[in-house]
Subunit: 320 residues, 2 copies
């Protein structure tokens, strides 16, 4: 049976799965990447995981390996350039060693691109031609997939749409701008705003978190579900920012759907009404309301599935 290996390489964990050309995950396994121990250690860990999952699918006829790695990556050279979330992983060739070890082509993608492709293929974006994906977690990731192909930018680079500008008077961000979406609506931004707002206020958030400093996005969401007024206000604010970020995706691109995922979007139902209201408000010169806003469906497996699909796409191209 023809199979693909999909690898989701993050700053903390690496997950490896055996995926069929129909997008089914036959088995998967994950481990801590312990990035600080260096890329050699990480690579050995990945090779061991691949060997382990392949052992569980003895009938697998491996066609290709796909990696979705926390960016930046140099796709053309097959190397990871990420000293930020993978310390010491600067200019590390990952494609060469894996290809040599397993004797198949290896494809390297940005992790947001891989996850978006997974969702477009067999997740929330299935059946749509133009699928935008936004992941809201520690950062905000963005990718666009058109007809099951990842869209790349100039020189093959990945567009960091999570840094789209929303408010030029907003907080400064490491992206160089002020008030980009990530600086306003990612997990840490929600936590910072909540701590500031909770200080000196009667709110269930402090009690739930244990201390003011321990309030994070999860606490905000949980307190809002419990009816805490301040938490509800914060959720409404974040929904407004997310809505405006999505409006910018719509005005510049009008995809068929926008899939929302990531840690913060586990509370999708809480943010959805606010987001929908912002989109509705901006539906005059563009048919914004025809764009479906959807929660992602593949959870932690989107990256593995999408990386496998990217490798399969490349394999098909080579053989056509």
């Amino acid at each position: 049976m023809e199979t693909l290996i999909g690898i989701d390489l993050g700053g903390t964990n690496v997950r490896v799965g055996v995926v069929t050309p129909a997008g089914k995950v036959l088995t998967s396994a994950d481990a801590l990447i312990q990035a600080a121990r260096g890329p050699q250690y990480g690579l050995e860990r990945i090779i061991t995981l691949i060997e382990q999952v392949l052992t569980l699918v003895p009938e697998a006829n491996l066609r290709a390996i796909g990696i979705g790695a926390t960016g930046p990556v140099d796709r053309a050279r097959g190397s990871i350039q990420n000293p930020y979330t993978l310390p010491t992983w600067e200019d590390v060739d990952i494609v060469g060693p894996l290809s040599a070890r397993f004797g198949v082509p290896v494809d390297l993608e940005n992790d947001a691109d891989a996850a978006a492709l997974g969702e477009a293929w067999i997740g929330a974006g299935r059946g749509y031609s133009r699928v935008a994906a936004v992941t809201v977690g520690t950062g905000i990731g963005y990718a666009l997939v058109t007809d099951q192909a990842i869209e790349y930018g100039v020189d093959g680079a990945h567009a960091e749409g999570g840094h789209v500008l929303i408010d030029p008077h907003g907080p400064p961000c490491y992206c160089g701008g002020r008030g980009c979406l990530e600086s306003l609506a990612a997990g840490p931004a929600i936590a910072a705003r909540a701590q500031q707002a909770a200080s000196g206020n009667a709110t269930a958030m402090i009690q739930l978190a244990g201390s003011l400093e321990a309030i994070d996005a999860r606490v905000v969401v949980q307190s809002a579900r419990g009816g805490d007024a301040l938490a509800c206000k914060l959720v409404a604010e974040v929904a407004e920012w997310l809505g405006l970020g999505i409006v910018n995706i719509l005005t510049l691109r009008l995809p068929d759907c926008v899939c929302l995922g990531g840690g913060v979007m586990q509370a999708y139902d809480l943010f959805a009404p606010g987001i929908a209201a912002v989109v509705a408000r901006h539906s005059i010169v563009i048919p914004a309301e025809r764009v479906k806003i959807l929660p992602m469906q593949l959870g932690g497996l989107a990256g593995v599935i999408g990386a496998a699909r990217a490798a399969w796409n490349k394999d098909q191209e080579r053989n056509s």
Copy 2:
């Protein structure tokens, strides 16, 4: 000799040209559309113009007609849906009558899309794969062309990127938002801001315009060239807004180049340094400085040339 007809249909003028499959305009002619006299009058005017230009190229073997019309248009049905800038032109079939009269296929596009395709084909974007185009005039138009194909949005709609959000505390816009790029940096916005700033101030702008109320974007530009401090400050502000709008195009898409045109951009040299500074400031997480920012080259003929190319693209598709 195989030829195409390109039509640029605006709210005030219509221009018709005979274009070769290499993008050369053999002849062109224009006339007032007098939209208020109704679509029947306009259509007859267009037909007369086509007949006139074809007379001037007796060896022309007409293959197809392309129209770039001031939006919104219904591309699938070939009809214009624009009671805003073409009063009484609501649901007007333009493709049918022209096709019947000239016996060739007729293709209808949005005018911003057509102009972008013209520039991507043989203008400033020539040789680039992903070409974004921004026209700054009475409104702000936006389009993206990839490998000589116009990018459409959901259900074939045109994305109105000129309404990308820049400042949620900015002026309200008919698009439903506040502080979109058009509401801050289009000609009328520049004029309004200049009149407000000039009131009670010593500035060459009032003298040049004749009165406070007569200050428009052209006066601002001309006064800035003359060294007027207030006009220079306004130009710097507008360059900042345009730069932020372009940064949003880059963060979400990272095209190979962004071509700037339209009336206000006739003073491209005046705005370019400010725009470049904003782009440079945002070049940390994306390779923004690798994206070329260029002035458009085809002037008033971009729409005619691009509409012809769009018709040619469709003709090639039909025959392949």
